[in-house]
Symmetry: none
Amino acid sequence: MQNFSPMKAQIISIGNELLIGDTINTNASWMGEFLNDLGVEVVRIHTISDDKDLIKSTISLSMKESDLVITTGGLGPTHDDITKTTIAELFGVEMIKDEMVEDHIRELFKSRNIPFSRSNVWQAYVPENCEILFNRAGTAPGMWFHENGCYLAVLPGVPYEMKYLMKKGVAEKLRALSDSIGYIHTQYLKVAGIGESTLSDEVLGDELKDFLNDHVSLAFLPSFGQIKLRVTGKGASKEEAQQRAGSLIGYIKEKAGDFLFAEDKDKPLAEAVGDLLRMQNKTIATAESCTGGLIASTITDIAGSSDYLLGGIVSYSNEVKIKELGVSAADIESYGAVSKSVALQMAKGVAEKLGTDIGLSATGVAGPGGGTDEKPVGTVWIGFYSHGQHFAVRALFSKDRLVNKERTTVTALEITRRILSGIDGLPYSLKKETI
Amino acid sequence: MQNFSPMKAQIISIGNELLIGDTINTNASWMGEFLNDLGVEVVRIHTISDDKDLIKSTISLSMKESDLVITTGGLGPTHDDITKTTIAELFGVEMIKDEMVEDHIRELFKSRNIPFSRSNVWQAYVPENCEILFNRAGTAPGMWFHENGCYLAVLPGVPYEMKYLMKKGVAEKLRALSDSIGYIHTQYLKVAGIGESTLSDEVLGDELKDFLNDHVSLAFLPSFGQIKLRVTGKGASKEEAQQRAGSLIGYIKEKAGDFLFAEDKDKPLAEAVGDLLRMQNKTIATAESCTGGLIASTITDIAGSSDYLLGGIVSYSNEVKIKELGVSAADIESYGAVSKSVALQMAKGVAEKLGTDIGLSATGVAGPGGGTDEKPVGTVWIGFYSHGQHFAVRALFSKDRLVNKERTTVTALEITRRILSGIDGLPYSLKKETI
């Protein structure tokens, strides 16, 4: 086996706005994913202010630790943009004017009919030891350095300019170096209906460890009742990396198959449910109290959902539950609006009223107020109705109103996915209760 | 004037998912803003992998450079969560079990009816030199250290758990230290119904510059048709900082009063609308097509919204529009489902059916498919009905389905806020169209 180690990279995001929450650092996320797909492993991201000493020390440290360093930000024409002069100082070189860049900027201003000022000429100056990464998307040139065995790319912070230069300049440079670096293959599995620790301890079990080593790793990325599993394989060739990831993927699919709803990291649970509905030519409607429309809204986040979602009733008041969904006023009186009986009637009521194959309902105590000893905040009844199936489940989520809405929605969708997939057993160890 | 220097902080975000673009680091942005509001200056954010040596060296370096270091992530129950054992190693201390935390976790699992497994007990172990920041929002405890003159807070990466512990644990600790640091007073104004450049250039105008200086700053933070304005005043005392911010606040309120819906940064537009409905003792219902329930869901994100939202109809199919909302089938045939006529009928239909004072409707081409030359993707009709008022507006938003749902919701709510507030003129220069 050939020995290899993937190229290691660090990203340095420069800009005060990133430190005080005015701007979320989406650049660094995008670059991390882009580099990962190129087989380059990002080991650190630094977010720092436009401070000369900090820029110098962070670049120096990163260049010592890694094979590639990429900075973004601080290349604009104003006084607080100090990245490139700081880098010239760091390398002890002069700033020189690049004629081609100057011509490009002059052209750009002319075509936009904007006056060309002194501060714009300054954008054509670069440290003399760099190679220009030509920026057709804007006025600030990208720069490429190779010093002390490390590559340094210096890019503007404007997202579409950065992306242009990553795709055109940096990717081309890296491809030229690719034989000397290894490959990374990353694959995702998305599961729902199970907690992180139960999945890890009970479903995947101790055997999981046999699959993990220096070349194969697994990460759990949970959110609101769903877990994204990331499997990464490393190898000297693309095939080797894929094959290594593949063995763990196979094991997880075998063990956790019932919980798996997607193999594409960007595919939401609602889309998995939608695919099943479309394939089985079934329609669905929602009857929502505590979720206030979130289940229907989540289903309609998916393009083409009009194929299967006919509509829904948000029955926030008892009157609407009674008048529009046919829930018995006496049952609301006897059992309360948050009850098995009401959830069952809401699900059946909406399916019959809108003429769908499936009716899905939710009624609960979203909070923060309204809890009792018997029905604390976070208590939710979810109802499911289709030809021949009619049941409700009781769940207890959190104290947080928005978390309760989100968890209820995920659970309702996951129940539907399981029924449509013919999987026995409900998610999160919930129990079916019937009339 | 007394000289002061704000406490300096660094944030360390731990997790491979942040380096390869699986998760955008919104935690760090939120913390940067939160700390800034408390008068703490964030000077660096580090994003690193779950790597023992890197965690150690980054924490060591940050603690040398700053007064406060906060880490997030790596506190889960699985094998790749190594933050707390690494910190114990760094300080050369043992891990000990905290009985209170264990009891809390057992209770939580019991109440949710989830089996308690071996890896969950491990969550109750913490380095012996820490003070527990008790986490009612989840199972991983926060930790607070004071070593070598620097404070270190160790928090989970799950956003709502992190936020809970920042607000409860970290903020309380910092307030106790506040006399030794300078004061920053931050105040927010939230506006809707106007674009950023129109607000800046035409409404606030050149005079705005007279209010800005080293002690007073203004940031525009736009999102989906709303803008959060952050005004920051700095001073040697709380009063001085407040008074400096106050003069700019006064100017903005005078100039942009009609657009202002909240002075609390966490108050959503839906809450401002809800306050008006409750004050005026009015009820509302929604009839939603392209938003698929998002308007009702957004209204019900607010606790107590059952006081004014009676319910809604998600009329995704034409059949539901006709049968449940009384929309004329002939009009759908003549004008299309995305039309003034249908929006008007939906709004009136739902108000009459559910017996509310106000009916609010939306029908549009959410995309990505379904656009035509006459009605491109992003075309939306919003309808409004109340006693004596009945109109619709046509808007054109974006090519993105989720952006269109969000913008439609904000615009519908802002129209309602203006009508309820008796403000002339619609948001975003939209025009009322009647039958």
